[in-house]
């Protein structure tokens, strides 16, 4: 328990005073020569149990009253958890802040968001309990460590303002771990304020095991998880998928998949007015949502004949979270979706080329070229959306390696394919093929699992899984590096995966080839086709002059001068525009930044999941809400005074002499 006047607790032994006085009183008894001992013995025998209990209760109440008085004078700070848990002073307090848009859910009465409420309460509790500690803020958007001069700065810092970025909680904890390891912070309290969104916490990530192991090895680390999982009011989100500008008989039009999600306890149909703004011109349209999600595929918005490029935004009416009511988009002429296959394997290259050049959207242009490895320098890096690399991984530091890295850095998609008899041990961004020491064992291998919720093999839009069940794998090449697996064999080996890195583009690894000696992927067709076009689409998004990106540190490239075409009013003064949603323009490019898709996923992790992630560490869960106005560490001396008064009243009641009319009168 924390106390503002800790020194007063030195008076705690005074609580023994009632007992000492009682003992002195017992020893100060007078002696009387007595004749009527028989009545005394009878009375004592009869009152032995009750009288003793009463006496003990009276003493206990007196001791309790003194204790309560001392505690009240020491000005205790507590709420339920703090009273039981927090003890002593820490050297360092790390505040890990989830700045994701979902933390902007508000109490509609006060207008305070989860993030602001958490900051306000943290500032208050740290002001009271950790004034002498070093306070460091690590926020989810930049993962930078900011040392604060005063806890009150937490609320005012631009680094604690709202953003549209995802919060990578494992990365946040890793940053905390790095800080502790680097700065030798001593006894450290880590406060983690978040809304427990599963998309942010990523409870299935393999990083948690590493983090848990690292924190377990450290001593004096306490976690306080300040959680805001509850939905305080009704909330709607809007997002756009697959935006396409195309020409129609009436002129240009935008075709988009519109996704409106509802987070509400109600299930009744609700009509929402949605405002579309295209290059500043506003139109409104009403949509009726029935259930938790409304997905309007191929929704068209007419641009007229003059609007060939520009920006747009879609706004929902104000609700519980203003941060997810707007979605920005930009549009321009669609680029050619070009695929380049660097390979000497004609069979493989031909299969990929056939799939990549087959159009899935009649309004787009698709192209695919095959380059032998000897001509890899001829790759048109700037025009390629998807690059298949079936060649040895270039040596680190070589021009080819640099070009590949720049390719991924610019948001395009790169797929590594295995090369026969590869003895190359080069790595690319930490990924490398495991050298083949003996001839591969022949399959077929059965497919054990594939990821259906995201990635190249996710279910189709109507929710059906890709038909991979009958696909045969005959040969695979194993690889290592930090990857997210999309397809695994029954023996657990990963076949198709995505390399985990911080670059905007995607680096995929295929451990098998689309030819008959390796697999039946190409001949089965559907999944192969889907994988190629999904990767092509992702790369193509970064090829266009109009790109849409998720908010994040590098979302807005530094090498170009950007001007904002449209941002939220509240974000006009934002220090880093990359962290907030908006539409931006440079000389010939358009860029729309929005919150990541995962922020519209309302699922949260529960306490069992938290126990799984933090089990074995010293942690406490504090469930709070924006409606809860009580402080995390309020002064509770009044409670102790009330308790003292109660104890004294009980003591007085116990000390009351028995009523005389209850006793039989003795007639003399």
């Amino acid at each position: 328990m924390n106390f503002l006047q800790l020194s007063i607790l030195a008076a705690l032994p005074l609580a023994l005073l009632p007992i000492i006085i009682h003992l002195i009183n017992q020893n100060r008894h007078r002696t009387v020569k007595w004749a009527a001992m028989m009545f005394l013995l009878d009375a004592k025998k009869l009152t032995k149990g009750i009288a003793r209990l009463r006496q003990i209760l009276i003493l206990a109440m007196r001791v309790f009253a003194v204790l309560a008085l001392i505690f009240a004078a020491a000005r205790p700070l507590a709420s339920g958890w703090l009273a039981l848990g927090a003890g002593g002073k820490s050297d360092t307090v790390l505040v890990l802040l989830d700045r994701s848009p979902s933390m902007e859910q508000q109490n509609l009465e006060t207008g305070k968001s989860k993030r602001f409420t958490a900051l306000e309460k943290l500032a208050d509790v740290l002001e009271k309990t950790a004034r002498s500690s070093r306070i460091v803020l690590i926020e989810s958007a930049s993962l930078e460590q900011i040392e604060l001069s005063s806890p009150a700065d937490l609320v005012d810092l631009p680094m604690s303002a709202p953003t549209d970025t995802a919060a990578d909680i494992p990365a946040l904890l890793q940053a905390a771990l790095d800080y502790i390891a680097t700065d030798q912070s001593g006894r450290t309290d880590i406060w983690l304020a978040s809304d427990l969104r599963a998309a942010d916490w990523q409870p299935g990530s393999g990083r948690w095991d590493t983090l848990k192991g690292a924190f377990t090895d450290l001593e004096g680390i306490s976690f306080y998880l300040l959680n805001y999982p509850e939905v305080e009011s009704e909330n709607y989100t809007i997002a756009v998928e697959n935006l396409l500008r195309r020409r129609s008989p009436e002129g240009m039009e935008l075709v988009m998949d519109l996704v409106i999600r509802r987070q509400s306890s109600r299930v009744s149909p609700e009509t929402l007015p949605v405002e579309f703004t295209i290059n500043g011109a506003r139109t409104a349209q009403e949509f009726t949502i029935n259930g938790s999600e409304l997905r309007l595929q191929g929704h068209t918005v007419s641009l007229g004949n003059s609007e060939s490029t520009g920006w747009g935004r879609i706004d929902l009416p104000a609700d519980g979270n203003p941060r997810d009511n707007t979605f920005f988009f930009v549009f321009d002429e669609a680029p050619v979706l070009k695929t380049v296959i660097v390979s000497d394997d004609q069979q493989t290259a031909a299969a990929i080329k056939a799939a990549a050049s087959a159009p899935i959207d009649g309004s787009r242009t698709y192209a695919a070229d095959i380059l032998p490895t000897s001509r890899q320098a001829e790759v048109p890096w700037d025009d390629t959306a998807l690059l298949f690399w079936q060649a040895p991984i270039p040596e680190k530091g070589s021009p080819e390696s640099g070009l590949l890295e720049q390719f991924v850095e610019s948001g395009r998609s790169l797929v590594f394919l295995p090369v026969d008899n590869n003895q190359n041990e080069n790595d690319f961004l930490g990924f490398r093929w495991i050298p083949q020491t003996d001839s591969p064992s022949a399959g077929p291998y059965e497919i054990g699992w594939w990821r259906t919720d995201s990635g190249l093999l996710e279910n189709t839009q109507n929710g059906n899984p890709l038909p991979l069940g009958m696909t045969k794998i005959f040969q695979i090449r194993e690889f290592e590096g930090e990857t997210q697996s999309f397809l695994k064999l029954k023996d657990g080996r990963s076949v198709i995966a995505r390399h985990i890195n911080k670059l905007p583009g995607n680096l995929y690894i295929w451990g098998t080839l689309p030819k008959s000696s390796f697999s039946s992927i190409a001949s089965d067709g559907v999944a192969f086709f889907a994988m190629i076009h999904r990767a092509l689409q992702q790369g193509g998004n970064f090829l266009s002059n109009a790109q849409m990106r998720s908010a994040g540190g590098s979302a807005l490239p530094d090498n170009v001068q950007w001007t904002s075409a449209s941002v939220r009013d509240s974000d006009e003064d934002h220090v880093n525009p990359s962290l907030s949603a908006g539409a931006f323009q440079s000389t010939d490019k358009w860029l729309a930044i929005n919150r990541p898709e995962g922020e519209d996923d309302f699922r949260t992790i529960n306490e069992e999941a938290i126990e799984d992630l933090f089990g074995g560490l010293d942690y406490r869960v504090i469930q709070d809400s924006v409606n809860n106005r009580s402080s995390l560490a309020s002064e509770i001396w009044r409670i102790f005074l009330v308790l003292m008064a109660l104890a004294l009243i009980i003591e007085a009641a116990l000390c009351l002499p028995p009523r005389n009319d209850e006793e039989p009168a003795v007639v003399i």
């Binding site: 009545f39 009375a43 003399i668």
Partner: protein, 310 residues
């Protein structure tokens, strides 16, 4: 036995004796005295009080024939009169340790001494015999059988003056012993604090009643023993030698008073059932008033007055 100065009779107050002298000590039952006196006797005698007519049988004193009845009925009847006799006052005095309760000079035994001495003096003054039966640790000890005369009064008063409280007395056994030792039809006065379980007392008193004794009992109590008005922890030392007891009167007071009330009710009931003239006396009452009420209560002519005073 300790020698006592015959003049050491502080327990007798001449003024009180003078005041009480006019009140007769009456027995409620017929007494069996050795000489003629003022008390009713179970045998026929020559007093002026007519008793009954009885048919003449040979051997009767012809001087007691009622000639008038013979003249009326032509039958011989003997006219009989009540006999008046003296009484034998037997004082059973409890000398247990508990009788030492009270301030020095004002102990329960001192009070008993004043009462018994005064009663002995009054009885002797009206020609009755006096016996003293101290009930000590080993039953009756150095008892003085009932006898008449001023000389014997001196002996009895000396014995009363010599009484000392101590030990653990079995008063019930002493009463049984006295019932056997005292010839029938005596006036037995018991003076005690009766601090023992009352149930056996009933049998002892019935034993006395069986021997046709008239019984009176003075139950001496201190007001503090009844009201138990202590207010802080006190160590109670047993006057009869038992283990001392440390108690907080605030905790046990209620139960103590309940036990006392129950005990007194039992004692009263036993005395009523055995025809004992029971007097509960608190020692803050002047003993002369107690004795005056007692004497008045026993006199048929003044019984009502005594009841009103009580």
């Amino acid at each position: 036995m300790a020698k006592t100065d015959s003049n050491n009779r502080d327990f007798l107050d001449p003024k009180i004796l003078g005041r009480l002298m006019g009140l007769p000590l009456d027995a409620r039952h017929a007494m069996m005295g050795s000489v003629s006196g003022r008390h009713r006797s179970p045998v026929r005698g020559s007093s002026l009080e007519f008793a009954e007519y009885r048919e003449y049988v040979p051997g009767d004193d012809t001087r007691r024939l009622d000639w008038r009845t013979w003249g009326r009925s032509d039958r011989y009847y003997i006219k009989e009169f009540e006999a008046d006799t003296n009484l034998r006052l037997c004082l059973i005095i409890d000398t247990s340790g508990s009788m030492a309760y009270g301030e020095p000079g004002q102990t329960r035994l001192d009070y008993a001494r004043q009462m018994s001495g005064t009663l002995a003096y009054l009885a002797a003054n009206q020609g009755d015999a006096i016996g003293v039966f101290p009930a000590g640790e080993h039953g009756l000890h150095h008892e003085i059988p009932a006898r008449r005369g001023p000389l014997h009064l001196g002996v009895a008063l000396d014995r009363i003056a010599e009484l000392e409280a101590g030990g653990n007395t079995d008063l019930v056994a002493s009463i049984h012993e006295a019932a056997e030792k005292i010839p029938q039809r005596a006036f037995v006065v018991i003076i005690s604090d009766l601090f023992f379980q009352p149930e056996p007392l009933k049998e002892a008193l019935q034993h006395l009643r069986f021997r046709k004794h008239d019984i009176a009992m003075f139950h001496l109590l201190d007001r503090s023993e009844i009201e138990f008005d202590f207010d802080r922890p006190t160590k109670f030392v047993d006057l009869e030698g038992g283990a001392p007891l440390l108690a907080d009167p605030t905790l046990i007071g209620k139960k103590y008073r309940e036990a006392v009330a129950e005990y007194l009710a039992k004692v009263s009931a036993i005395c009523t059932q055995t025809g004992t003239d029971y007097h509960r006396v608190t020692m803050d009452q002047p003993y002369d008033q107690t004795l005056a009420r007692f004497l008045l209560g026993r006199n048929p002519r003044t019984k009502k007055t005594a009841a009103n005073q009580g």
